[in-house]
Amino acid sequence: MANVTLRNVRKTYPGGFEAIKGVNVDVGDGQFCVLVGPSGCGKSTLLRMVAGLETVTGGEIDIGGRIVNQIEPADRDIAMVFQNYALYPHMSVFNNMAYGLRNRGMKEAEIKSRVDEAARVLELTSMLDRKPRQLSGGQRQRVAMGRAIVRQPKVFLFDEPLSNLDAKLRIAMRVEIRKLQRRLNTTSIYVTHDQLEAMTLADILVVMTGGQVEQVGNPLAIYEKPATTFVASFIGAPPMNLMATRPEEIRSQLAGSAAADAGILGIRPEDLVITDQTPDGGVALPLTVEAIERVGAETFIYGSREPEEQRVAATPGELPPGEIIVRVPGTEAPAIGAKIRVAALRNKLHLFSGDGRTRLEA
């Protein structure tokens, strides 16, 4: 059992590329920390630095009160689950799990009891004699988990362990991992680019972009109060609608509060309702329906704002400028081309400075 503390951790490659630009994270004993961010944000690099597979060029990594910057991966008391599982192809499932223990000189009887116990927990008992290639993706994933569990390490590290599985299995394994971690109560750091996985697994969520931490906190707190427009659009699906408050129609509705000076207004699709009224202090938007997605329990309406010239970009790569997503329950939806009016309550508005870097409280 251990805390993991990263103090101003940096990674600069010999070429001068700065992959990690000073990260501070504190993961408490037994907590499940998820690093989430778009690809290339440095989350995997950071995890590999904790594992000892990448050198640390600045700052300190502290595992259980011991600074591990210069310590070999094997001596850090960590176990890692890789994206492609990295099982030894020529060893049986049993030997895959036992290998790390044998290298540490553990007695065979103890190894056997630990591996049997892990196999029982992961329902691998009948497969102990098989080779990895005779297993399905989900089973391989469980063997990789087993290899981590038998070591009884201070910290589990997961590097996108579910991204090679199909959607259904991914959800099942996600729940399994969470249950397992709760039961073993082992500090864990988990890397993913899937915000849903991040939300459902994390005790502490670390949102990263461009080698920096954008926001750290409880997942729901981050969902409710994203600190920047990046976090706002990254956490939550579909992403938050972001629009400039410059257009007079919005600015006038926000008049009278500090928020009137905000540069960017964000509203989550689930906070918009179709109504003809403008809630007190809230915002109403006239939309033209352009597309509709029915997914059963809910329906997403993609609308464009009028007039055309008021379309302003959200975060790059997200919604096309001016496009607004509205989430409504059930399958009821207006026809394509219909003019509708949607509104959000005052306390559902997210306001950011013009550069998107600062959240303003309304």
Binding site: L53, I78, P89, G100
Partner: protein
């Protein structure tokens, strides 16, 4: 595979049979000749059916040798060839897998220049560097020895390149998982890389064994004693006789015997060999 219709398929089969005949007929002749009486062969009256001297000829070939030219029993020549071929095959595999491991997995100064030097030796087979190589082996007093026969042929760029290519396809995560599992460089090599290279090693062994077995020029140069003679050199010596009739049945029996070990190796290792060439088991 495309199924051809009647007529065209017969043509294909006929061509294949002709090919087989061209390859197999000399082998058949060699075997037939080894069972015939020498006088008949010398007169050009050799029949195409086996003669009655099979046991007698092969006994003499293996345990006694020819009565003229080299008097070395072929059994001993085969032993020499076998030792040389095994030393070359095993030695080459051992040396090249270790050097490939160093080149792929370790960052040391002049890594790439060293790799290129190894690469360049591809252009310098024994035949090209024969004088300096001979000089070195002679200075080391390794003439007429197994070491002298095998050592100069062991250094090999091809096998190093092959293992390098293979190691580069092994996922990095395996090394990382090993590191986390507490396996050092030697452990990783021994426990993970070697077992994964098994099929590649088998394929190389077959190729290198045959290459070693068929060496002619080098053994001819550095062996002077008859009891260090390899079978390939021995055959040649048996044919050249100055004042007597070439003992063709014995020569042919030796040729047949010379074919057996490579055939044996190929047959035994065939499964692994084919897998090593086509399949990547990861």
């Amino acid at each position: 595979m495309v199924e051809e219709e009647g007529f065209r398929r017969y043509i294909a089969h006929i061509i294949l049979w002709i090919g087989i005949a061209i390859v197999a007929f000399p082998v058949y002749i060699a075997f037939i000749a080894s069972t015939q009486d020498n006088a008949l062969i010398a007169n050009g009256q050799m029949s195409l059916l086996p003669g009655g001297h099979f046991f007698e000829t092969y006994y003499q070939t293996i345990f006694v040798g020819t009565s003229g030219s080299t008097r070395e029993p072929v059994g001993n020549m085969m032993l020499n060839s076998l030792v040389m071929a095994l030393l070359i095959a095993v030695g080459k595999i051992a040396i090249s897998i270790i050097s490939a491991y160093a080149i792929v997995y370790f960052r040391f100064p002049f890594r790439m220049p060293i790799f290129w030097i190894i690469f360049i030796t591809l252009m310098l087979p024994v035949e090209v560097r024969i004088y300096p190589t001979y000089k070195i082996v002679a200075d080391l007093h390794m003439l007429d020895s197994y070491a002298g026969l095998a050592l100069p042929l062991i250094a090999s760029a091809t096998a190093t390149l092959l293992f390098r290519q293979f190691f580069m396809t092994v996922p990095d995560e395996l090394l990382e998982a090993s590191r986390i599992d507490g396996a050092g460089p030697l452990r990783f090599f021994w426990d993970t890389l070697l077992p994964l290279s098994r099929t590649n090693m088998a394929a190389l062994f077959v190729i290198l064994f045959i290459l070693g077995w068929n060496q002619y020029l080098w053994p001819l140069l550095i062996t002077t004693r008859d009891d260090m003679q390899t079978i390939q050199v021995g055959i040649r010596k048996m044919i050249t006789t100055t004042d007597a009739l070439t003992e063709w049945p014995i020569v042919m029996a030796t040729a047949v015997l010379a074919m057996l070990p490579p055939v044996f190796v190929v047959v035994v290792m065939q499964k692994l060999f084919v897998r090593g060439l086509v399949e990547t088991e990861k």
